[in-house]
């Protein structure tokens, strides 16, 4: 069984990986004419935006729910239950991002665009899984 120090180290690693994901691109789609849509935790950047681009900003702050789960994970170092809430909440939030990624990839391929996963998404997935492993280990250790 994983001991408390290892479980806390896993949670801390999950926090660092997820925090890194907050500043890196999550995914992007490149279209003809050099237009590129880059999705990040704190907004969507459109490179070489053409004149006929739709009005309005489709730029959700996906980072907001992730910051809440990160805060719960950090609190989980002292309050065991908070770690589980943070990790499970982050799994749920990442599930919505996964649904969006599959959808965006489908749209991109339909329009002959090049879809690419960014390092931010890789770090988010890794951070979520590592934090979940730590949170589960912390629950088991507390119950033992």
């Amino acid at each position: 069984m994983i001991g408390r120090p290892t479980a806390i180290a896993l949670i801390a690693a999950g926090v660092v990986l997820t925090a890194t994901a907050m500043v890196l691109p999550w995914y992007s789609t490149a279209y003809a004419g050099g237009v590129e849509v880059v999705v990040r935790a704190w907004g969507t950047e459109i490179v070489d935006k053409p004149g006929d681009w739709p009005a309005g900003e489709l730029s959700p702050w996906y980072g907001v729910p992730v910051v809440v789960t990160l805060a719960l994970l950090v609190a989980g170092i002292w309050i065991t239950r908070a770690a589980l809430a943070g990790a499970a909440g982050q799994v749920g939030a990442a599930g919505v991002v996964a649904a969006l990624v599959v959808s965006e990839r489908g749209h991109a391929l339909d329009q002959q665009g090049d879809f690419a996963i960014g390092f931010g998404l890789v770090f988010l997935v890794l951070g979520t899984l590592v934090a979940l492993a730590g949170a589960v280990a912390l629950q088991r250790e507390a119950a033992a």
Binding site: P54, A55, E57, V64, A88, V91, G92, G95, A99, S103
Partner: protein, 146 residues
Amino acid sequence: MRKIVGIVLLGLAAAAAAGATFLPLSELLIRLAPGQPQTAYVTTGWSTRFGGTEDEHGPLFGIPVVLAAAALLAGTRWRRVAYAGAAGLAGVTGMLFVYLLNAISFHEEGNIAIDPALEAGFGNGIWVLVGAVVLAFGAVVVHPDD
């Protein structure tokens, strides 16, 4: 008694969450030309439709919701699984809320010139999901396990 109440609340929360995926999460009602009937742009957990046309790559938000609902059902046996399921459903709902809030604002801003009287907003599905989260955490509180 607490056991029965906990199981009933978890069952209700899971059913509400799964049911919410079939309800509109966000809606845009717009007249594309004066005098024409309104066309609805509706996002649910399983489809995105504009009038009679379905976006074949619409995001399937229903999948993470149903997985969280399944965790809630498994939680009828173990309190910590119920707690994780409730937190997972809260995470799904929070991220969905952020996405839909921006999508609604995008639809409003992008189409206001076409129809100044357009109606855009959250659908009932998101409020049922929020209700499911509240029910799920309520179930955790009364759960008799540990």
